[in-house]
Symmetry: C2
Subunit: 205 residues, 2 copies
């Protein structure tokens, strides 16, 4: 991902937060003429300011069979919104798109140990259920084992993290405030999230 | 993208609708070890039930320089939500993710004629502004020409469209209704969109 300097985020905490809050990512590899992409939920395990990334996919998905040892890209897209040129105070502008995204490059490693896979699946459930695993723990062990054999569990050995925070940082304060107001006035929940990001990542006071 | 038969959408109108409503897509190519991906707004021009796909990116983005003639994948992600296993009536279930996505495979062709580029940029603005191009038309011609020279405009020569509509179609009606109610009760706008998709793509009555 190309990131101009003023859109570059170098804070790993923010990258991890973006991944966790937008954990339904896209796993991409370059297996044939066309890139192969699969939409998947990711588990991001924070460790000493860095993170480990895990996901799983059905074995019946042909993508599962070609990932072992591959260079992969995992893409996480945060809040985003179209920004109309008419929203700036300065009228000599063209539209843009404000967004946050994290691209993680790494090597896909298959987790083959069944106990490890069962533990990682429970950790994944815990993450998406806000820590509540009662239902998952009460499922019959044979049922969970049988299902775990139908999936390929992957750890991505992280090699590079690209983190982009593009929220009009190249615009003067009067334009920022005007764009934020239009986003808020739209009444759309997604647009309000973008206005929040604009406030967070620009110096407005 | 792997699509089991019960999640496959074969209606081009629905694919076009999904692209237009989720037009901030991801353009991916396989240039090096890792796939190269750029988040971009797309213009989808419907023509006789098929469509043409256009986008543009800054020339300063290294992706722009390697796209000509390349096999590319454009990914559009529609409404999506985590589905807790606890939301099904039948408790013997594991979580899943409901989502819609369209993957367009094609060859990137650079549009180099300046007038064509200016017209396509105006068409792009018209699409995102709901037809309103007054502001864009009033911008000085030299300003628009200068900006148009800083971008690479791409048409994707569409080769294959993969369209996935994954909304619990493999579940019985009682589970579908229960999941929909949980999504609606969450009060989250994105979850309500997923409930709408579940109603639209399942036979519930």
């Amino acid at each position: 991902m190309y990131i101009p300097p003023y859109y570059k985020n170098s804070d790993p905490k923010i990258a991890i937060e973006l991944i966790k809050e937008n954990a339904f990512g896209l796993l991409i590899s370059s297996d044939s003429a066309y890139p192969f992409a699969t939409h998947l939920p990711f588990l991001c395990r924070e460790e000493n300011g860095k993170f480990r990334l895990f996901t799983h996919l059905a074995k019946v998905n042909p993508h599962a069979g070609v990932l072992a040892g591959k260079e992969v890209l995992a893409v996480f897209t945060g809040p985003h919104a179209y920004i109309s040129a008419t929203w700036y105070k300065n009228q000599r502008n063209v539209p843009t798109w404000n967004y946050a995204a994290v691209h993680v490059k790494g090597i896909a490693r298959v987790v083959s140990n069944e106990d490890q896979v069962l533990n990682l699946l429970q950790e994944t459930v815990a993450f998406f259920e806000g820590g509540k695993t009662e239902h998952h723990q009460q499922l019959p062990a044979e049922y969970k084992q049988a299902l775990s054999r139908e999936i390929t569990f992957i750890e991505i050995e992280v090699k590079e993290v690209e983190s982009k925070i593009k929220f009009n940082q190249n615009k003067p304060k009067e334009d920022l405030l005007s764009v934020m107001q239009h986003l808020i006035d739209s009444g759309d929940h997604k647009s309000k999230l973008v206005a929040d990001m604009m406030r967070r990542f620009n110096v407005l006071d």
